[in-house]
């Protein structure tokens, strides 16, 4: 019974997802993007880097990347903590 209910819910959800995907803004025409235009035009002058994605990641959104590095650090220490009893000597 629970499985049947789950299948019905999943089907309804999938249909909604499919309809949303069909009726989204058509692929290849993003909305107004002044911020991205600014990044593309000014990345070479302000960050002096050819790769705009890297200059967004490390310069314009550097604080975000700091948080991301913190998440990675937390995950590594979490893995070491979770497996501490089985790993023998720690690395």
């Amino acid at each position: 019974m629970r499985k049947l209910l789950g299948i019905i819910a999943l089907t309804v959800f999938s249909i909604i997802l499919f309809l949303t995907a069909v009726h989204l803004r058509s692929f290849g025409s993003p909305p107004h993007a002044e911020m991205d235009k600014y990044f593309i035009e000014h990345a070479q002058k302000e960050a002096s880097a050819n790769n705009v994605v890297t200059s967004v990641v490390f310069d314009y959104r550097g604080f975000d990347t700091l948080g991301e590095a913190t998440v990675l650090f937390t995950a590594v220490s979490g893995v070491l903590m979770a497996l501490r009893h089985y790993g023998g000597r720690k690395k």
């Binding site: 999938s14 989204l24 290849g28 993003p30 991205d36 070479q44 967004v56 979770a82």
Partner: protein, 120 residues
């Protein structure tokens, strides 16, 4: 029918999301549930990148770009956010696998329902 063909990447994303939710909801093996989470993550990353695509655009990199690339570049911010999301996904997956190993060592099984039963 035409809009279906135009929006094919979004539809692939929707199918992947449905597969991921099916895997999470109906499978009992913890490793399979982790695989489902990974599928969901890939779907979301694909969705973000696909939202930033400009028709006929080039990669937002100036090094030896083709001559017409400057006026027609793909949006860089979604790609940067996807990069963040991928790294966080790797971290979360490693953590989930570590806990799965832990659960297997403790209970001797990866079946979610049996784990619950053993807890009492």
């Amino acid at each position: 029918m035409n809009s279906v063909l135009v929006n094919l990447p979004f539809i692939v994303v929707a199918i992947l999301l449905a597969i991921g939710f099916y895997t999470i909801g109906f499978k009992r093996n913890l490793i399979k549930i982790i695989i489902g989470v990974e599928i969901l993550e890939g779907a979301v990353n694909m969705f973000i990148v696909a939202l930033g695509y400009v028709k006929g655009g080039y990669a937002p990199i100036y090094t030896q770009a083709p001559s017409g690339a400057i006026e027609n570049m793909v949006l860089p911010t979604p790609q940067a956010l996807t990069l963040t999301s991928i790294v966080i996904g790797v971290a979360v997956t490693a953590l989930m696998l570590a806990f799965a190993v832990n659960i297997y060592k403790t209970y001797g099984t990866l079946d979610v329902s049996k784990v619950r039963r053993l807890r009492g």
